[in-house]
């Protein structure tokens, strides 16, 4: 039900975009108004969440230490898994964000006969890396449609992405990888009993939505085609706040569907688990150095607490202390 419901929701979105921009002819709505609203929700919602997190305090220095601490010069220290300096933390965060270091540790535990076995398990890491990197590169490649003149890094990425020069327009590997990895992540979620058990509609829906976005993009690029010059003109007009919808015959409905699904993703983003994009930067177990023995850390909301002073202790036990020869303050 969670799966079908999520899938249906994506299909409904698709149909809305199809009906709205096609038969109903509401292209200004789907080409201008909705994208603007979606971008607005995305940016403001994202900021709202970041500020909410920022408002919360970090009272204690609680990194999860993933390697040998810094102690003696003769003991090899894990600078990145157990950073004790700011640079080390940056290194750890880079590994975490770009290479998913923690997920790379993943293991799989099984009871085999009378033994509990922990084997290496990299599939989730591979799937997640493929998915996120493909998504990221696809996003960067889209900059060719938003920026004029097209920046050099976009050409560079395209030349790498289309390295095999398959077909014309050249096949971009990341598009295929994105869909493939998305499907893998879904199948994994559906197939592994424990993961299916913990999954919510909020886990399936964005996955389906992203797969749908990638698929409509691929269809547009390789199959139905669209007038790319007109698309760029529209997008540039949005970016420069002088929106203009090109003549109807130039841009097909598939483009508006693609755009609408992207808008849905943007608007959904700040209110969902997708905020892990921002959250990873703010995770105290990863972005703090293990250096409380070296440097002071202040708890901003610290307050006085009731304590048991030595005087009270001695008052209670003075006789016993004296009897057993333990020194006291007051004889």
């Amino acid at each position: 039900m969670r799966i079908i419901g999520s899938l249906l929701l994506v299909i409904v979105l698709l149909l809305i975009a199809y009906a709205g921009s096609g038969p109903a002819g509401l292209t200004p709505l789907f080409g201008i108004v909705i994208p603007y609203i979606a971008i607005g929700i995305f940016i403001l919602g994202f900021l709202w969440k970041l500020l909410k997190w920022a408002r919360s305090y970090v009272p204690f220095r609680i990194p999860t230490t993933g390697g040998q601490q810094r102690s003696f010069p003769w003991i090899k220290w894990s600078r990145l898994d157990n950073p004790a300096t700011g640079t080390g933390v940056i290194g750890r965060m880079v590994l975490e964000i770009f290479l998913m270091r923690s997920l790379f540790r993943n293991t799989r535990s099984e009871i085999v006969g009378t033994k509990l076995v922990h084997g290496s398990s990299k599939w989730l890491w591979i799937g997640a890396m493929a998915f996120h990197w493909a998504f990221f590169i696809v996003l960067i490649r889209h900059m060719r449609l938003f920026i004029e003149p097209v920046p050099g890094y976009v050409h560079f990425l395209e030349s790498l992405d289309g390295f095999f020069q398959i077909g014309h327009p050249r096949l971009m590997m990341t598009g295929v990888v994105l869909i493939g990895a998305g499907v893998y992540l879904f199948l994994r979620r559906w197939y592994i009993p424990q993961v299916r058990y913990i999954s919510l509609p909020a886990d399936y829906f964005p996955l389906f939505l992203i797969i749908a976005i990638a698929t409509t993009g691929v269809i547009m690029r390789y199959f139905t085609k669209t007038d790319i010059v007109a698309v760029k003109t529209l997008l540039l007009s949005l970016m420069t706040f002088s929106p203009q919808i090109p003549e109807k015959e130039k841009i097909d409905t598939i483009f508006y569907i693609h755009l609408f699904l992207v808008s849905a993703l943007l608007a959904y983003f700040p209110f969902s688990k997708l905020m892990h994009l921002g959250g990873i930067f703010m995770s105290p177990t990863r972005n703090m150095a293990n250096n409380l023995r070296v440097k002071r850390h202040v708890n901003p909301w610290d307050y006085p607490v009731k304590v048991h002073h030595y005087e009270e202790y001695e008052n209670e036990f003075r006789d016993k202390m004296k009897a057993s020869g333990i020194p006291v303050e007051k004889e």
């Binding site: 003696f72 898994d81 293991t107 105290p284 023995r293 048991h308 030595y310 016993k320 202390m321």
Partner: protein, 538 residues
Amino acid sequence: MAKLPKPQELMQTIDFRPPKTDWRNLKVELREGMYCHPAKKKDLEAVDYPYIREWSPKDEDWKLPADWKEQVLEAIRERLIRFRSFHVFMDICVRCGACADKCHFFLGSGDPNNMPVLRAELMRSIYRRYFTPSGKILGSIAGARELTPEIIKEWWYYFYQCTECRRCSLYCPYGIDTAEVTIIAREILNLLGLQLGWIAGPVANCYWKGNHLGLEPHTIKSNIEFMLDDIENITGIRIEPSFNRKGAEILFITPSGDLFGVPGVYTCMGYLMLFHEIGLDYTWSTYASEGGNFGFFTSMEMAKRLTYKIYSEAKRLGVKWILGGECGHMWRIWNQYLPTFWEPPDNLQVPVSPITGTRFEHARYSKLVHVVEFTADLIKHGKLNLDTSRTDHLVVTWHDSCNTSRGMGIFEEPRFVIKNVVKNFYEMPDNTIRERTFCCGSGSGLNASENMELRMRGGFPRAMAVKHVNEKYGVNVLANMCAIDRAALQPLMDYWVPGVTVMGVHELVGNALVMKGEKERTLDMRGEPLPGKEAKEE
């Protein structure tokens, strides 16, 4: 008390496949043997805990305060602001499932709510319902749940089935730390008066008497004197340590578990012998006589209240720095909380080993040095005369405690010490040691006796790894540097891997340490004959 099933039977009940029913519709079933007794009224009164009353987990009605719901929601609201960890972790989980089979309680029970992701979802579903727009509007579709008394029961049951070991946090791609969620859930339960006896008792003791066991000053001294008698019997040397002595260079604080009971006392004897042998100018304190901190298992405030004694006693006695004994959560707190709770007093100086001259630069602010670091430095500089023939009959493996592993990262120091005091050392499998280590299953105040089944389940992954090296290399000693481990691992071994003895690092050091003027040793630290040593004498 619930009957503990046999190991084979228990193992057969473990099934990682989740049930058919959605976890949100599962009514929590409190199984005996899986939870601890509630706190005694007198222990709660001793430290002014809120909402003290008689209640039993088996009661249908837990007699929650009339405004319990408002209190819980207000407590969550307050903690969302106080703890960014909690706030961020409530929002960003993607339920990838990487943590699922990382939890020792899940691996030992198969209960889906013991998957760290679901344990946190128990809280997250409430957070969504009352603190997020999507949860308020969409309800259960967005994964939200209504807060009911049933949920309080469920929290109580499952947040006391987490030892705050942070293993899930290591594998989480966002570093989501269930310990943070558990800590906060327990704070909230505490507000409703739902405290465990096994935690509240030590807390009250520690607050009023200075240590968890409630040892009064003269008892501490006499306990140590018993150990000194044993040491004299073994080595022929009479040691005379000092108590509450002003002007000592170093204040030594260890978990009180080392002062009472087996095998903690053997570790304590090791400290006494070592410090005597190197002529260390140190003192014990009967006031600050607890390194551990069960307050940490109730609330941050109580943790802070209990740690007050450490620096204040160091100030009163005018010592230069503080040496800390072998303990797990004590070092998590000393390494990540204590110097934030309280500022180190001015009389403390950057710790320097009086024997080797080593400056402990990595402790230059907090002035807190781990005794295993201290000993490793001594051995590195060749200051100790060690005879490993006395430990030749021991085949040792090393258990990294969860707190010192993932809340500190002290891995090489103990290994260095161990390898210098024993000849036969074997590591357990890679995925079960160092930062990937498994918890003993009894940490965070769960080492009671009425929840023995829970403890045996939680310790199952650790025990299986020991069993592996026991069968492969004949390992017969499980060494560690944590008071709870010393107390909890022995019953775990007796249950799952009979024949393995649990020892602290300094028990092994004490065995190997050749002291100036000692007699030919025929007994080990436990007063047992040393194999092969009697024959040599003849």
